[in-house]
Subunit: 200 residues, 2 copies
């Protein structure tokens, strides 16, 4: 399980979409939400659409790895598809905010946690401002929130600077390849072939 996270405005969504094109073999976790589908969105592709009652019921039976309320709607990561994909021996990537990633980490400390960093705080401010019509006060609030989120980087395994989308994707791809080469994972895979490894 790979968790891609980072402060709001850093470009998690954009990087994840580019990564999806670059690594089609990777499974992408689809979130559940109480938000109404928008035009062009499809059930099970963009989101799993739930009523608030259904979502509440998922929370109660522990069916979500993490969830949060955002502008009046609930969003969460269903546990079952993640566990099924891992059981199939495939990699799954979760794109979630910092708070959600820390919830997931409590449930899945063995996941690979990647923090996406802006090249600089000025660049982050520009990306947040560039989104639309926010006032200076709103931007300041979001910047101090982002600073707090960046402080949570100490909880992560890797940090990738999102200076250029292609380069960031290549770094993430390298992290995934390297994680597959971790000695403990390889020894598990090859223990059948080379039984004496375990005796060491």
């Amino acid at each position: 399980m790979i968790v891609l996270s980072g402060p709001s405005g850093v470009g998690k969504g954009t990087v994840c979409r580019a990564l999806r094109r670059m690594m089609p073999e990777l499974v992408y976790s689809v979130s559940a939400t109480t938000r109404a589908p928008r035009a062009g969105e499809a059930e099970g592709v963009d989101y799993y659409y739930k009523t608030r009652e259904q979502f509440q019921e998922m929370i109660e039976r522990g069916a979500l790895l993490e969830y949060a309320e955002y502008v009046g709607n609930l969003y969460g990561t269903p546990r079952e598809p993640v566990e099924r994909t891992i059981a199939e021996g495939k990699d799954i990537i979760l794109e979630i905010d910092v708070k959600g990633a820390l919830q997931v980490k409590r449930n899945y400390p063995e996941g690979v946690f990647i923090f996406l960093l802006p090249p600089s705080l000025d660049e982050l401010r520009q990306r947040i401002s560039g989104r639309g019509t926010e006032t200076a006060a709103v931007i300041d609030t979001r910047m101090s929130e982002a600073s707090r989120e960046i402080g949570m980087i100490t909880e992560y395994d890797y940090a990738v600077v999102n200076d250029e989308i292609e380069a960031a994707c290549r770094r993430i791809q390298s992290i995934i390849t390297a994680e597959h080469c971790r000695r403990d994972r390889i020894v598990k895979e090859y223990s059948g072939l080379m039984p004496f490894i375990h005796k060491a």
Copy 2:
């Protein structure tokens, strides 16, 4: 510092030469030896050629990260070029046998230790036999030695299966990229830009 090691016959030298072409920005550690230079070999490129007295003196003043005797000649890794390259902020790769790698690990536990594995023991036997004129008894001895060496894999961070040279090199390249993305390294680099990271 990256240490590429593995059992004798696995193809460390071949992989290292291919990697050298693929990653010219990597610095390659040159060993010291008491062996006489062969035709076409150059001082400081293939080896640093030393007399036995010079080599002994290097051992005594701790100028070698590891050393071993092999067929009557001494081989070792000079400490100074490794430390200088690291101080310059560059990556250096050491290609050494399993015993040497474990010596280096005692001096440099923060290095990245990569173990090169054969795809199977049959394949390793073929590679060892294919080298030349060894008798069955010699091959058996070398195989049991290799098995013992593979048992030392538990001391390493990563394991790369040398099934195909290009693929093995790409995995090593990914490991190096991923290691540069480790959170602690990035936080160190970016702490000037984002001072609040350290306050977390």
